[in-house]
């Protein structure tokens, strides 16, 4: 058994002691071993490391320690600090990832553009009466109420609207007032900065209500806005300025095949 092996085995037997105390005992043992004649058989002179550790423990009055607190105190402070730093960094990384994946700053803006719409008699929105072939325009602003820029990728609407339309987007602004802000251009992905608003405009004509397969009315109260923040892509459901309803008269549905 070499001196190094002997010290390691004794230290292992004392592993429950606080690190600084164990360290001091190990230093003492190294001094002791260094004082012995070079050709000393350590096990013969000192006994097995396990017994040496037990005798040392007894003579020094060091009780065996158990429990979580003792386990932590037995660790090297530098290692504990490194583990704490690593855990903190990991926690921060997880929290940051979770925050990025839940960050959704897009909200309804402050302007709606609803030419030709009627206020609902119940006061809970607007409605358009369907007129085949007539022009249809509906716009609303969306706003970035967060602190970071997001990229708006599109408006993935899957409604079966009784209109043929193009999606347009206005120039950048903060708070719109009065007529819809122009000029409009076809909607392509764009950046929406903090505090910025843009109007999304449905522009087209009423056409073919039969896909809806019903008469009476069809209502919508939010639009999906696809966006990207850093690497995360999500869809925000943005409430319409006013819930939107299409009203179909008997005449509108007259040409539709009967529903099954």
């Amino acid at each position: 058994v070499t001196a190094g092996d002997y010290v390691r085995r004794v230290e292992f037997e004392l592993r429950d002691l606080p690190w600084s105390q164990r360290r001091a005992l190990v230093v003492d043992l190294r001094h002791h071993l260094a004082e012995l004649p070079p050709d000393t058989d350590l096990v013969e002179r000192l006994g097995p490391p396990e017994r040496y550790a037990a005798d040392l423990r007894t003579a020094a009055g060091l009780e065996r320690r158990r429990g979580v607190f003792a386990y932590l105190r037995a660790r090297r402070p530098r290692n504990l600090a490194l583990v704490a730093i690593a855990l903190t960094a990991l926690g921060l990384a997880i929290a940051t990832l979770a925050w990025i994946h839940t960050y959704q700053p897009i909200a309804t803006g402050n302007v709606g553009y609803e030419p030709g719409a009627h206020d609902s008699p119940t006061g809970d929105g607007i409605y358009y009466v369907f007129h085949q072939g007539r022009r249809f325009r509906y716009g609303m602003t969306i706003a970035n109420e967060g602190r970071f820029t997001v990229r708006v990728l599109g408006i993935p609407i899957y409604w079966e609207l009784p209109i043929r339309y193009r999606l347009l987007v206005s120039g950048s602004g903060t708070i719109y007032r009065g007529p819809p802000p122009g000029p409009f251009r076809p909607l392509h992905p764009f950046d929406l900065g903090p505090g910025e608003q843009r109007m999304i405009l449905f522009s087209g004509r009423f056409s073919e209500p039969c896909d809806l397969r019903q008469q009476g009315s069809e209502g919508f109260d939010e639009i999906p806005v696809r966006y990207r923040f850093l690497w995360h892509t999500g869809t925000a459901q943005v409430a319409l300025m006013d819930p939107l309803t299409f009203v179909f008269t008997k005449k509108a549905a007259a040409g539709c095949p009967p529903t099954r």
Binding site: R30, H31, H32, E35, L46, D55, L56, R57, A59, A60
Partner: protein, 105 residues
Amino acid sequence: VDQAQLLKGVLELAVLAVIARGETYGYEILSTLEAAGLDGVGDASVYGTLRRLEQAGHLESRLVASDSGPARKYYAITRGGRQQLEAGSKTWTRIGSAVDGLVKP
């Protein structure tokens, strides 16, 4: 009677007595004890006792560089250690006399 068990009770007193003669280091303390006839005491017991006495403030230590190898740890007795030694000596004398009276015919 197991000599090691007997020695454990008086080892603290013996170690203090050796160091009271003058500043010394661990291996020399061991050699002095062995030369005095206390050869049944283990090295670990002596070093553990040194550690306990130092923790209790009865000893103080310092590292001294050595020409022949690593630094040596020298121990010196403190004022508290001398008081402890005096009290222990009186106790030992009293117990020794009492035990002598019992074991001698």
